[in-house]
Point group: C2
Chain length 196, copies 2
């Protein structure tokens, strides 16, 4: 269990895989969406909160509604992708903790503490958003994550009357490498690290 996985796996998950603006025509079935969640769900969250909620925009109509909330060039990317997923955060996630973290009263850690609720929902739904990107890659899919959209508009259009708020959006499909730009540089270990 403690040896590194093969190079092909490291390449697929991190080293050579790209995010995509364009996808091939290959469709993404509902079975594939379910398989994706069946990986994402296992990624760890604080006290097993799992605040992520997903609206899968699959129909042309749903993608057009979402595209109308996006900025700049993101709208056409959403409309052209096989699937566009709205990754939301449930601000009432703690109501499920008696089921998800049953050995203690974790719900009481959050009730009446809006700043803590907001911080926890945002951190943990973002972790789950990253698991989503990784899980897609493990299944041979590609993503095009984006935060360039009007969150208030998405919330009004898709989450009205619920406790869910948008975190970010990602397109999903099988990436078309035509038109990819050169890869952007990355920070070095020394740029980000202090060893104490």
């Amino acid at each position: 269990m403690t040896a590194p996985l093969p190079d092909e796996v490291l390449d697929r998950v991190f080293r050579t895989t790209r995010t995509f603006n364009h996808f091939t025509d290959r469709p993404v079935s509902e079975d594939t969406l379910r398989a994706l969640w069946d990986l994402v769900k296992w990624g760890p969250t604080s006290a097993n909160q799992e605040p992520l909620r997903i609206i899968w925009c699959v129909s042309a109509e749903a993608k057009a509604r979402l595209a109308a909330c996006a900025s700049g060039t993101n709208g056409p990317k959403i409309e052209a992708a096989p699937v566009a997923a709205i990754l939301g955060q449930d601000m009432a996630f703690y109501e499920k903790l008696p089921q998800l973290f049953p050995h203690t009263d974790a719900r009481s850690w959050f009730v009446g503490k809006p700043a803590l609720i907001e911080e926890s929902a945002f951190r943990n739904s973002s972790l789950q958003g990253a698991y989503f990107i990784v899980a897609a890659r493990l299944l041979g899919l590609d993503t095009g994550p984006m935060s360039g959209f009007d969150a208030a508009k998405v919330d009004a259009e898709f989450f009205a009357g619920t406790t869910v708020r948008a975190n970010f959006i990602t397109t999903l499909g099988y990436g078309d490498p035509a038109g990819l730009h050169a890869r952007l540089p990355r920070l070095a270990f020394e740029d980000v690290s202090t060893i104490l």
Copy 2:
């Protein structure tokens, strides 16, 4: 490139791997920390922001200082782990965008917009925190992520005089399965999904 990876990979990254409170005595070398960053760095962030900054607490003294900022049972877990990493977010991340996203003036999107800076740093450093957890697993390592600590105390103790603030902490090493509890339940596809 579009076939799912083998079951052993899906198991290692998501399906059967656990987070750990206890680790074996096997040490984690600086080379391994560098190998870990060399995967994490490739995970996508918005406009290639890469706001994550890491303090690797390797010495007993550094781990003791961090443990003193942690709540409940987290202190002893930090002191006993081979490494405890403080995953921080650089609130001045946008100063590096001329280098990291050179084809447009992305720095100007953020200057003077504290709410947007805070949201972007938190979302993207959380994504990178999840990449950290996944990358560790790809290298055969295990993590013990925790958000139960006094963030103001960690900031004062480790980030004073810098633009970095703590996001979350994780221990790192080779997990000792002795003492693991049964796995917690997960939400089903239907609990989190709407297909439109």
